[in-house]
Symmetry: C2
């Protein structure tokens, strides 16, 4: 019986935006008026407009009003899956091999005390999938020292066992070093796709990882 949900109001406004009913930069009527026009409560209309604004198509400012974004900032949401899930999602057998594990002094921007350094390979159906180089801070995550890292990737263990407050992801490209090319089965100097991740908890560094993928790897996302 409720013909109007905030979602249908959202669709309706989006249609008007697409139809250029209001031009970029133009001011929309205020909430109260629009709510009356569409026959819904202001809170309902508010939610619809808030959602549209979050998607970047509207700009809302108190006292000023609601405006059509002139340059909608396109945002893409990319999923950062656990590598095992990513491989298994493409119907391949996942395998993980720990290459190296030792305590070393990390780059100064991370920590001044020695940390756990790991190198590991990820395989999909026995083909090299990605090379992982990772630092883990045992001072914030002491349990890592007894984790079964020979069987389970550090990534997966960390997701299950440590909360974190903030993080960074970066995507970049580089030419493979000879060693990387060798491990990944690529020709020397081949382009590789690199995903960097850093996670922190309240100024204290938890882990920093670099995953080197072959150049066939792509990150894709709906706009």
């Amino acid at each position: 019986m409720t013909r109007h949900s905030w979602n249908s109001i959202k669709d309706l406004v989006m249609q008007k935006l697409n139809a250029r009913h209001w031009l970029p930069g133009e001011k929309l009527p205020n909430e109260e008026m629009m709510a009356r026009d569409y026959g819904v409560a202001r809170t309902t209309l508010n939610r619809a407009l808030r959602e549209i604004a979050k998607e970047g198509y509207l700009i809302r400012r108190r006292k000023a009003g609601t405006f059509v974004a002139t340059h909608p900032v396109r945002r893409a949401v990319v999923n950062i899956p656990i590598i095992r899930h990513e491989v298994e999602a493409s119907d391949k057998a996942y395998r993980y091999r720990l290459l190296e594990q030792k305590m070393r002094l990390p780059p100064a921007k991370l920590e001044t005390r020695p940390c756990l350094y790991l190198r590991a390979m990820h395989y999909a159906d026995d083909a090299a999938y990605g090379l992982e180089e990772r630092w883990i801070n045992p001072h914030t995550t002491p349990d890592i020292l007894t984790a079964p890292l020979d069987r389970m990737s550090a990534n997966e263990w960390l997701v299950l066992n440590t909360p974190f407050s903030s993080g960074l992801v970066g995507f970049s490209a580089a030419n493979a070093t000879d060693e990387q090319a060798d491990l990944l089965g690529l020709r020397p100097d081949a382009a590789v796709f690199i995903v960097n991740r850093e996670t922190w908890q309240d100024e204290a560094f938890i882990t920093s990882a670099q995953i080197i993928y072959t150049n066939t790897y792509r990150v894709e996302s709906q706009l």
Copy 2:
């Protein structure tokens, strides 16, 4: 205290999640109880939990309840700016040069009729910044044929003049072709970072672009 109450409730719940007050997979108390516990209205608590769920840390199902996500899917939101804005944001002078513009038959998956094909360079302080190769469908966007593409990048024109639509973004790495290396001032075979974009409107293709950046380019994002 009345200020941003849903946000402070969200912080509070996030803290409890981080502190493992509820374990992954565990069920939280129902909305009514939590609202009473925290001394807020149920709608307020609802909003807090809804936001947390949208970030992936909680799973909510009607009748079943609210649960701690076992494998929170990490999502990173990356902004896809207009290249001019990106360059100007780093305090450099932006320059754009159209290299080529003609009608050609695009890849069949896009369109079966001839489309506009563009190649253009983007510069930051006279240093090569990115090479753009783009298809634009004049059958969905006829005005493009009279747009001043020698002065304004197609990207920017399209953002201003075509309605919103669905799209795809992809990030990948590759070795530069000789021509690309030459245009970008890179050594032959250097790794380049490639951003692909496709935008569609109701099954009809609008534009498809590939922007080739030097390997110093990075896409970064907060987790």
